[in-house]
């Protein structure tokens, strides 16, 4: 007689069943505690606690200053304007690339022009706009315009639109590309005109992209620090620059903290809205059952003409702005003495050498550490289930979602006293970059893992490989392109971003971007241009190297698809 086995509980502790995962999680939470929660809580403490008791005194104090209220409204108005204009321009570019039959070279040029602002330091467009439309501006002279001031709302708006519209372009063209072309055909075959098709099919289906783009641009403009600092002046204050001036000019940490709290609120609202938007199922149809891929239908003729005209003007303008910086870096004194000289480059390589070295070292360290963290966090949040997973996802994005100014201020408040005294060190700079810009790495790792069938990892386990070997031999090689995509982004940001780290630089550790800012504030436009050109060249070169490295690593397994479906035995 068989005695049925008693049901046996199979719960095991994580330490025993998966020690690798367990230690990875402990490490991640610890790093979050130190570099995300501690600074943010310190910021909130400084804002809301006066002598140990809860109080709105700091907020009231900054709110009572008219200038700060103006800065809040300024920030919101500017962010609204930039999100609308940038999204519109991005949509036009996206239509040009995905829905028109413009000649291929022109499309390549459009793509290139949208990449330039993404990899340039944040001052680039402000500098070139100053050179073109500022006092003694080249373009103003050429067009004979007088009484125009680039300083103030108009200048910041133009500059930020130019800087951020590529983000809109990328988001929207991605969604336009994934639409089923058969929908166009369906609309036309049902008797719709091309305008009607655009209005009733293309635009409604791209609404999630438009929404996402508006939120992204709103957040980016809200957080932008460099542009208003150069082009805003006193005529158009915004929150990030006010907070910066309060802290660096008046050493008012409490005031800065309170101001950055005002900035934190709308930024978090945008962040949550965006998560909401991306969380809801997109109704774009990627069914994989489209059969042969058909071409998208042509847009109305008049629209194509208009799109082409706008794109051409924009391309010419952007190239002109970059040329002007290059030109500016080679003249003695901008628009006063136009003799050709290498003087500024000599200066950059002599007096800027430390900044170049520091920046490269910091960017390198941040990229390596950030990528490792991105892989670990991306992997455990996508592949594993554990308590607190959603919270881990959320926390990992927090420093990224908050404006750089807020993070920078939080870092100086959080790390300027024991037990964790880090101000002025390399660590604080690297940490600031890592926990801000690894977010893209995490996202690309997660997206890549979603594409990889878990059966591959199960296959490895069933063949006797352990968790760690499976991770290093199967998972990592498969997600390496995504890791590199994240690395490139991280590196570019570490080279160019300034809003958080401007608070963290010191005599010991300085950055190229801060040198550009110094040159600008000293009105040394040509020096600033030379620094910018050097920075752009370094970014380009590093990016090319990483691209090559990836190509070499993946040469082995990205074989061309040449599947032959001969029937075996036939």
């Amino acid at each position: 007689m068989r005695i049925p086995a008693l049901p046996k509980s199979t719960k095991r502790s994580l330490i025993k069943s998966d020690p690798v995962l367990y230690s990875a999680m402990v490490a991640v939470w610890l790093s979050f505690a130190v570099f995300i929660f501690l600074p943010l809580l310190s910021l909130l403490w400084t804002t809301f606690f006066v002598n140990g008791t809860f109080s709105f005194a700091n907020i009231k104090k900054v709110w009572s200053a008219k200038y700060n209220v103006r800065a809040l409204y300024g920030s919101l108005i500017l962010a609204t304007a930039v999100s609308v204009s940038g999204t519109l321009l991005g949509y036009i570019f996206a239509l040009a690339v995905t829905r028109t039959t413009l000649p291929k070279p022109l499309k390549v040029l459009l793509g290139a022009v949208t990449i330039l602002p993404l990899i340039s330091p944040p001052f680039t467009s402000s500098i070139s706009l100053t050179l073109a439309l500022g006092p003694n501006g080249m373009l103003l002279k050429a067009l004979g315009i007088k009484n125009f001031s680039i300083y103030g709302f108009i200048g910041i708006w133009i500059s930020e639109t130019l800087t951020y519209f590529p983000v809109a372009f990328m988001v929207i063209s991605a969604i336009l590309n994934t639409m089923a072309a058969t929908l166009d055909d369906a609309a036309l075959s049902l008797g719709a005109s091309r305008w009607r098709m655009l209005r009733t099919v293309t635009i409604p289906l791209s609404l999630p992209g438009i929404g996402n783009s508006i939120l992204l641009l709103f957040g980016a403009s809200l957080a932008d620090f460099a542009t208003p600092l150069i082009l805003g002046g006193h005529t158009f204050p915004v929150l990030p620059t006010e907070a910066y001036l309060l802290i660096t000019g008046m050493f008012d940490l409490k005031g800065g903290a309170a101001l950055s709290f005002l900035l934190l609120v709308p930024a978090l609202v945008v962040f949550f809205l965006q998560r909401q938007l991306l969380g809801t199922k997109s109704f774009v149809s990627v069914t994989g059952k489209n059969g042969a891929r058909t071409e998208f239908a042509q847009l109305p003729k008049t629209l194509v003409v208009a799109i082409s005209a706008i794109c051409t003007i924009m391309v010419v303008f952007i190239i002109y702005l970059y040329a002007i910086i290059l030109w500016g870096s080679f003249v003695k004194v901008w628009s006063v003495n136009n003799t050709f000289t290498f003087e500024h480059y000599r200066y950059v390589f002599k007096h800027g050498r430390k900044a170049i070295g520091d920046t490269l070292l910091i960017a390198f360290l941040s990229t390596v550490i950030g990528s490792v963290l991105a892989v670990v966090i991306g992997y455990i949040t996508q592949r594993k289930t554990f308590i607190g997973k959603r919270f881990m996802e959320f926390s990992s994005m927090l420093n990224y979602a908050l404006p750089g100014t807020v993070v920078g201020i939080a870092y100086i408040i959080g790390f300027n006293r024991k037990p964790i005294l880090l101000t002025g060190t390399l660590t604080i700079l690297v940490a600031a970059y890592v926990f801000r810009y690894y977010a893209t790495g995490i996202r690309s790792v997660v997206a890549s893992l979603e594409q990889i069938d878990p059966a591959l990892e199960e296959a490895s386990l069933s063949l006797g490989a352990g968790t760690l070997r499976t991770f290093t031999h199967v998972t990592i090689p498969l997600i390496i392109p995504a890791v590199f995509a994240g690395m490139r982004y991280l590196f570019i940001h570490c080279m160019t971003a300034i809003s958080a780290t401007i608070f963290l630089v010191s005599v010991r550790w300085t950055l190229l971007t801060t040198r550009i800012l110094e040159s600008m504030t000293e009105l040394q436009f040509s020096q600033a241009s030379a620094f910018s050109i050097v920075l752009i060249v370094i970014v380009f070169a590093a990016d090319a190297i990483m691209h090559r490295a990836l190509g070499m690593i993946t040469a082995n397994f990205h074989r061309p698809q040449e599947a032959s479906y001969e029937i075996i035995g036939a």
């Binding site: 046996k8 199960e458 296959a459 069933s462 006797g464 199967v474 599947a563 029937i567 075996i568």
Partner: protein, 371 residues
């Protein structure tokens, strides 16, 4: 005592999905002997894949015990169970060559490079893929990928070969071919194999024994012949092959046979299945209650109307001549639809729509099941 290749004792799996508890697998008992090929057959969502994944160790049972060759494996990690798993989509590593894929497990096991080379080559030869070592998965056809997946597993000489619908991604012709090939290989190597499929002809042709599952429970375990000819439940009868199920009222229950009332006619006598229950005085079969009469379409004779005892009066709803036989759709007096497949011979009358006929059920191939 020699222990069985695999034993499942009261294995259950419960998921929580969207706040609801799902009993994916409920109290499954199964013993598999060395060298057997056992298929799990059932509709999608019946728990067959979950059971297989618990044997593999990808899922842990909520309750119960799994032993492989006498050793308790219930909580053993996948990589220490010594099993081989063939996936529905093959799961070949796209970044490794055919050689790299097949050698993967041997390397993880830490075998010597020279031995690995030999073993990989002989495994590839065994599946008929010699000289493909340097190719990559995306350069192979579906059938070739399937063979690499097999080679990758058998090279490890696993205790247990687990296959999850391995042929479902192949086209129909190749599928038939691979069936016989896999079966031949499995016999040749004497390897114990669990094979999940939803394709009944695959199960019937390949298996030593079939486990029919439904809603997380085992409905019946038996040889293909037993499953087809002696289904133990209406579900199995209906799921395997085509079957007509007719509800009849029992007029007499004796020993192993039942006599039931034919609607609009006399009575019908046939054996009752589930001999584990005594027919006489059984809860399952009681006079006055209904029982399900199971009859396959090929066991029905369609004749001119007659009042002979044991025939079922019916009328023709449709008749289709398909060359070798005639397919009838018929309706009994109580409205039950019946399918019949009558072999066609020259000069035979084909009944037309609305014609009255009487059906003769082959009593030896017909059986009652409890409802």
């Amino acid at each position: 005592m020699k222990s069985s290749a695999l034993e499942l004792k009261q294995v259950s799996k419960t998921f929580t999905k969207d706040g609801q508890t799902v009993n994916a697998v409920q109290s499954v008992d199964l013993t598999v002997e060395q060298g057997e090929l056992v298929t799990f057959l059932g509709p999608s969502g019946c728990g067959k894949t979950t059971t297989l994944r618990m044997v593999a160790g990808f899922e842990l049972p909520t309750a119960g015990e799994i032993t492989i060759q006498g050793k308790d494996m219930t909580n053993m990690p996948v990589n220490k169970r010594g099993i081989g798993f063939v996936f529905q989509n093959y799961a070949l590593f796209p970044h490794m060559s055919v050689y790299g894929n097949v050698a993967y497990g041997l390397k993880a096991r830490g075998e010597r490079t020279r031995d690995i080379g030999e073993k990989v080559r002989s495994a590839l030869k065994l599946v008929g893929l010699a000289n493909t070592e340097n190719r990559y998965p995306n350069q192979l056809s579906g059938g070739e990928q399937q063979r690499v997946a097999l080679a990758r597993v058998i090279v490890m000489e696993p205790n247990l070969l687990l296959m999850d619908e391995p042929l479902s991604n192949l086209d129909a012709k190749l599928r038939l071919h691979m069936r016989t090939e896999i079966r031949a290989l499995q016999k040749k190597l004497g390897i114990t194999c669990l094979y999940v499929t939803h394709d009944q002809s695959e199960a019937l042709t390949m298996a030593d024994r079939i486990v029919v599952m439904n809603k997380g429970r085992v409905e019946q375990v038996g040889t293909p012949f037993e499953i087809y000819s002696n289904p133990q439940s209406v579900f199995v009868a209906d799921f395997i092959g085509q079957a007509n199920i007719v509800e009849l009222q029992i007029v007499l229950a004796e020993q192993e046979t039942l006599t039931a009332q034919i609607p609009g006619g006399g009575t019908f006598k046939a054996r009752a299945l589930r001999p584990d229950h005594h027919v006489q005085g059984s809860e399952l079969y009681r006079t006055g209650q209904s029982a399900a009469l199971v009859i396959r379409p090929e066991n029905i004779l369609v004749q001119d109307p007659s009042s002979e005892d044991g025939t079922f009066p019916a009328h023709v709803r449709s008749s289709i001549y398909v060359g070798s036989h005639v397919e009838y759709e018929l309706v009994l007096a109580n409205g039950t639809a019946i399918k019949a497949m009558v072999p066609f011979s020259r000069g035979m009358h084909i009944y037309e729509q609305q014609e009255q006929v009487s059906l003769l059920f082959d009593a030896t191939a017909t059986a009652f099941l409890p409802l």
